[in-house]
Structure formats: C-alpha cells, structure tokens
C-alpha cells in the first residue's frame, strides 16, 4: 500500500533576486530539501526551534504556500501540480489546526457557523451542516448549545476545540497540527492532547504534529523528525529517537529540556549547544550545525583530519561536507551527521 503522504525533496526559498536599486537580496532557504512519508493513521512529530522551517514545511505540505521545488503526493495525487480548483476539491481530505486559538477563528462568527463553514463550502446543505456542527461540538467536548456563542466567550482551550472541530468536520485523512497546544496552559494542554488521541483512534486520521515542546511531541508521535535550519537532521521511531538520539543537535535539545524532577535536574551535566540557531539567510558551509556542535569539538580534539573554523579546530568533514540523512541505527533511524555514533 502506498503512503498517505509522500513528500520528496521539498524546498521553499523566500526573497532572493535584487532590490529596486540592484542590491542583491538575501535568499532565505526556509525549507531546503525535505523528504518523508506518512502512513494512514500515523502521527509524525516535527520538532524544531524558531527558524527551523517547521511551520513553513507544514504549510507547504498543504500548499497553503507555494513550494519552490519538490513534490508532495497525497492519496496518490500530486498536490504540487494540482490546479486551483482541484486543490480546493482536495482540501476536505487534508486539514489544518493552527497555533493561535485566539486568532485562527473569525471573531465575528458564532461557534456553530465556524464549524459548519467547511461543510457548506463543500456542498453540504445548511440545515444538515448545522446539525453536524452540533454533533461535532459534542465530540470535541463542548455543549451543542454553545453553537450560538462567539469566540470571545470561550477560553483558549475551548477555542482550540472549536478549531479542531472545524478541521475534522469533513472527515479528513490528514490533519497538520501547527503547535496546537503551545498557547495553552499546562492543565488545558493535556485535555487537547487526549482529545486528539481520541479522534485519531476513532477516525484513523494521520497527524503531522508540529511543535517545539519535546515532551508533547513524544507523547503524541509514532515517529519523530527533528528539523534544523530547513533540514531534517534526524528522523526515527519515537522510542529510538528519545532513547538513543544520534544527532548531536537532538542530544542537546533533549538535554536542554528542564524536567519536573529536582534531583535529576541538579545532578545532570550541562550539555549546551554553543550560541543560537543561525539564520537561514546565511547558512554555514558543510554541516549546518557545526558552528554550534559540541560533538564536532570533541571529535576534533581526539585527532584526525581537522581544519581551523569558528575560532577552534573542527573535523574537516563537518566544515566542508553537507551530511546526508541516512540510516544510522536501525533502517528506520535516519540521521544527518558525519559522526552519528560518537559522543
């Protein structure tokens, strides 16, 4: 059986060209050659920091923004080549839930109208859409009687439930969730995560779950992909990635998460990447992570072929050669690092 979603070498470049006065404009490679597949009913977690390109990737998959290159196949149809009309006809099958529960629903429409809108837009009669909207409200844990209320009368968590009801209204096979719980309070986050799990168990929908919170991603995902400056640097089944991370970026991300356990926190070594995520407008040569990589420094200290870079000596492979995402542990554990098994 072919995958539900098949993304091949997807790229998005912003800017470039010249300004009005002929000065070159920096080219930002927000998404720079990403490939992955997603099976029916599967959840792929997509983790990365601000500027990693994860939100851009989510929008490219749904073609809410136009890719610069590459292909997205969804249910065996080429999304990237579809006409505007064909794309609109595919929308019911691929939906999105947004980060901002306050901004992503129209403040002037009632909850019922918001949930009914995708149905009426795709040919469901008004009365039937209203009836189904009431049932959807109940499904996401709100009272159907709340259909007449406006968004500002709901709490953040309740609004996110409305956004989820809108996304599942047409029974999609794929939902892209862009940081769906990061704007919510901790106690409410868990409600929404459990609701999403319940919906997936019932309908078999596949999720592309974008988040920066590694705990949340671990909780919901079957597989996890870690993004850094427009690339996937590691992709593996969840327990392999969290249990035995191979890429030094993943290692330092996991080490940086503060854990609610004072004993572990006090006794943990501080493994910190150096500095901050660079800019996708001026990418480093070779491996994108080498300016911050603690492992490259350790490997160089042990000898081998090194060069002068970043004010220290680094392995020449890290500085000169762009590592490919390749199987590094098991066949399903991919990492883009020259030294995946060093530490």
């Amino acid at each position: 059986m072919s995958a539900l979603l098949d993304v091949r070498d997807l790229r998005k470049t912003f800017g470039g060209g010249q300004t009005l006065f002929g000065a070159p404009r920096p080219e930002v490679r927000a998404v720079d050659g990403i490939s992955f597949t997603l099976a029916r009913g599967e959840t792929l977690g997509l983790v990365g920091e601000t500027g990693s390109g994860k939100s851009t990737l989510g929008r490219l998959v749904l073609r809410l923004i136009e890719p610069s290159a590459g292909q997205v196949r969804f249910e065996d149809t080429d999304v990237t080549a579809a006409s505007t009309r064909a794309l609109r006809a595919m929308r019911p099958r691929m939906q999105m839930v947004f980060q901002d529960p306050y901004g992503s629903i129209d403040p002037r429409m009632t909850a019922g109208a918001i949930i009914a809108e995708p149905m009426t837009a795709h040919g469901v009669g008004r009365a039937e859409a209203a009836g189904r909207a009431a049932r959807l409200l109940a499904q996401v844990g709100l009272s159907p009687a709340m259909a007449a209320r406006y968004p500002h009368e709901f709490s953040g968590g309740q609004r996110q439930r409305i956004g989820i009801a809108r996304a599942i209204a047409l029974d999609p096979s794929l939902v892209v969730l862009d940081e769906p719980v990061s704007a919510l309070d901790v106690s409410v986050q868990a409600q929404i995560l459990n609701l999403l799990a319940e919906i997936q168990a019932r309908s078999g929908v596949a999720f592309l779950f974008i988040a920066h919170d590694l705990g949340v991603v671990r909780h919901v995902s079957d597989r996890v992909a870690v993004m850094y400056l427009g690339r996937v640097v590691e992709m593996a089944p969840r327990d392999a990635l969290y249990g035995a991370p191979l890429h030094p970026y993943t290692v330092s991300l996991l080490a940086a998460v503060p854990r609610p356990d004072p004993l572990k926190e006090r006794n943990r070594p501080r493994i910190r990447p150096i500095g901050e995520i660079g800019s996708a407008a001026s990418l480093p040569t070779g491996c994108r992570f080498h300016p911050r990589c603690p492992r490259a420094r350790l490997v160089a200290a042990r000898g081998g072929d090194t060069v002068e870079a970043e004010g220290t000596r680094l392995p020449s492979a890290c500085v000169r050669q762009d590592p490919l995402l390749a199987p590094a542990g098991g066949a399903a554990h991919l990492a883009a690092c020259h030294f995946p098994h060093e530490d």
């Binding site: 309070d185 868990a190 459990n194 909780h219 998460v257 501080r270 901050e276």
Partner: protein, 327 residues
C-alpha cells in the same frame, strides 16, 4: 534571618459592577538573599499581578487594597511615586517575558543600559558607557565593546534577554524579579539564560523571584516554590518537598498533566477538567473545587475558602491528608 523581599497578605483589586473584583488575595511570600523562589501558576492565576502590584506597577483602575510589600524591611506600598521609582531598578530589578518589547528599537543597547545607570547614579556619559560594556560582559555577550553600539534588532532573542538582564542588574539590586524570562525563547537558549540567571544570583547574593508556568524550570532553578491558583497561593514549600510529595490537589493534578520526555511509554495524561475561573467568577468555596478530583461536600470544599496551613511546606486544602490525595 529576615527576608530580602516579603509580601504580607497582599490583596489587589479592580472595580467591578457590583463589588471590587479581587485579582490576587491575601498573598504572603518571602525570599531570602541568595535564594530563588519560583512562583508557578497558569494564565490568570495572579502570579504576575502579585508582583506588579507590589512594585506599584499595576495598571489603573487596579489597586492594592490590603497588605505589605517589604523590601529589606521597607514597605514599598507606603512610598510615594518618586521614592518607589528610585527603589525599582536600584534595589529591585525586573526582567520580563518578552525580550522584544523590553528594548526601544531606535536606541543603541549601550545607550539604553547607560540611561538606566544615569537615571540613578551621577555618572558621566563615558563612565556610563564603560559600565554598560562591563555589564554586557557579565551577561556573557561576546565582544561587548563592539556590541554596545548595536541596535536591538541586531541581537537574537536570547541575546536581547541577556541585555534586559544586564539592565535589571545594572545597579546591583538586592532582589531580581524575572517574569517568564525564558518563555519566548527556544529550549537550548532557555537553558543558557537560566544558567546565566543562576550564576548572577550566586555571584551577587541576590534574592531571585522566578515567575513561570514551567515546572521543569522550577525543578532546575528554584530553592522554594509557591503555587498560585485563582489569585491565591495554594501550596508553598521547598522545591524538594513540593515535588516529592505535593499536598494540594491542583499541584498533584498539574504534575499528572505534563507530558514528560522520560515518562514510560504509554503513560496516559490525566488532564484537569475545565479551565481556571475568571477573577469575577471565582466560586465561593475553594476556587479549585469545581475542577478538583478530591473535592467533597462533607469537607466544605464548596462552602468555605481553605486557609494555607502547615509550617514550611503548607497547602490550602480542606482535604489535606485524605486518602485520594495521598495516593
């Protein structure tokens, strides 16, 4: 030993349609020199309002209606606006959540730090600038002599938060209040900034108040913790005590609802039902009772407000020690 900063029964309110709406009620906290107190709560819990009211920064029409805010024994709430202004910055520093809005985009960062210094100290322009470079070095900004002339937009989010921290510690305050200082930052940068705050506290022996919603940050950084819910402190104690054996059902439920990166696979999240009450609609009894797994009529959870009881590790719950909670 007396506390460096202490709140006693602080209550702040805004006028409402019928009666005043209490944003925070009867909040008592203290923090010693060289110690970090974490104040934990969700949005609307009053954790930020508590400190803006204590420092006279609560926006109108809100005002403090009861309580004391003692900074090394001086009640800030009795000071006039000018005396209070001199205290802020000089004796008590603040770092806020959003590193973008804290800096003025049209001035160089060095000038902004120098402005803080010159507002309180009789310094020449050059001396203030030299101090600004020193301060940037203290918050570990690389190449401070050059970066002092950069504009805020030339700094990354983490670097801006370091600049704001430099401004907050410029006058050597005895107390540093950091309101969600790392919430807007990525996790690797967050770790760096938390390390920095911890180092500064240790070096200067400052008392630090860390306002956060992240229990992981509390575990890493704080010595003691106060958990706030619906405008009140519901549990307080040392971090070790509270994390090992939380006593308030809200604290217990909070721990159960966090997706931990090291929890065994297949662990179910136990969310807290509903959402926190708005200040105007807080229930008559315990504010957490409608969402509480242990609430009971017999214990009076829905009828009366539970007081904060216990010495050291204290909780405000009618059902403390009951079976459901102990489990």
């Amino acid at each position: 030993m007396s506390a460096a900063f202490e709140l006693r029964g602080l209550t702040a309110a805004v006028p409402g349609e019928k009666a005043a709406i209490r944003l925070v009620e009867d909040v008592s906290l203290h923090v010693h020199a060289g110690e970090t107190l974490a104040v934990v709560g969700e949005s609307g819990s009053g954790k930020t309002v508590t400190f803006t009211s204590a420092l006279g920064l609560l926006p109108k029409p809100g005002r403090v209606i009861a309580g004391q805010a003692l900074l090394e024994g001086v009640d800030l709430l009795t000071l006039g606006p000018e005396a209070l202004r001199r205290m802020r910055g000089a004796r008590i520093g603040m770092v806020f959540q959003d590193p973008l809005t804290g800096l003025n985009p049209v001035f160089r960062v060095g000038a902004q730090i120098a402005e803080v210094l010159r507002a309180h100290l009789p310094l020449s322009r050059q001396a203030a600038r030299d101090r600004a470079v020193e301060l940037l070095a203290r918050v570990q900004i690389p190449d401070p002599a050059r970066r002092v002339d950069d504009y805020p937009h030339q700094f990354s989010g983490g670097m801006r938060q370091r600049v704001l921290t430099a401004m907050a510690i410029a006058l050597g305050p005895r107390v540093l209040i950091a309101d969600e200082p790392t919430t807007a930052l990525d996790v690797t940068v967050q770790a760096q900034v938390l390390d920095l705050l911890g180092d500064l506290r240790d070096a200067d022996g400052m008392a630090m108040v860390l306002i956060t919603h992240d229990l992981g940050v509390v575990a890493r950084q704080a010595d003691r913790v106060a958990v706030m819910y619906a405008g009140r402190v519901v549990e307080t104690g040392t971090v070790a005590e509270v994390f090992a054996a939380p006593r308030h059902p809200y604290t217990i439920a909070l721990f159960r609802s966090i997706p931990d990166i090291e929890a065994p696979p297949g662990t179910q999240l136990a969310p807290i039902a509903g959402s926190p009450p708005e200040p105007a609609r807080r229930p008559a009894g315990c504010a957490f009772a409608p969402r509480c797994f242990a609430a009971s009529e017999a214990a009076g959870c829905h009828a009366t407000r539970p007081p904060l009881t216990g010495t050291g590790h204290a909780a405000a719950c009618h059902r403390q020690g009951a079976l459901e909670i102990a489990a």
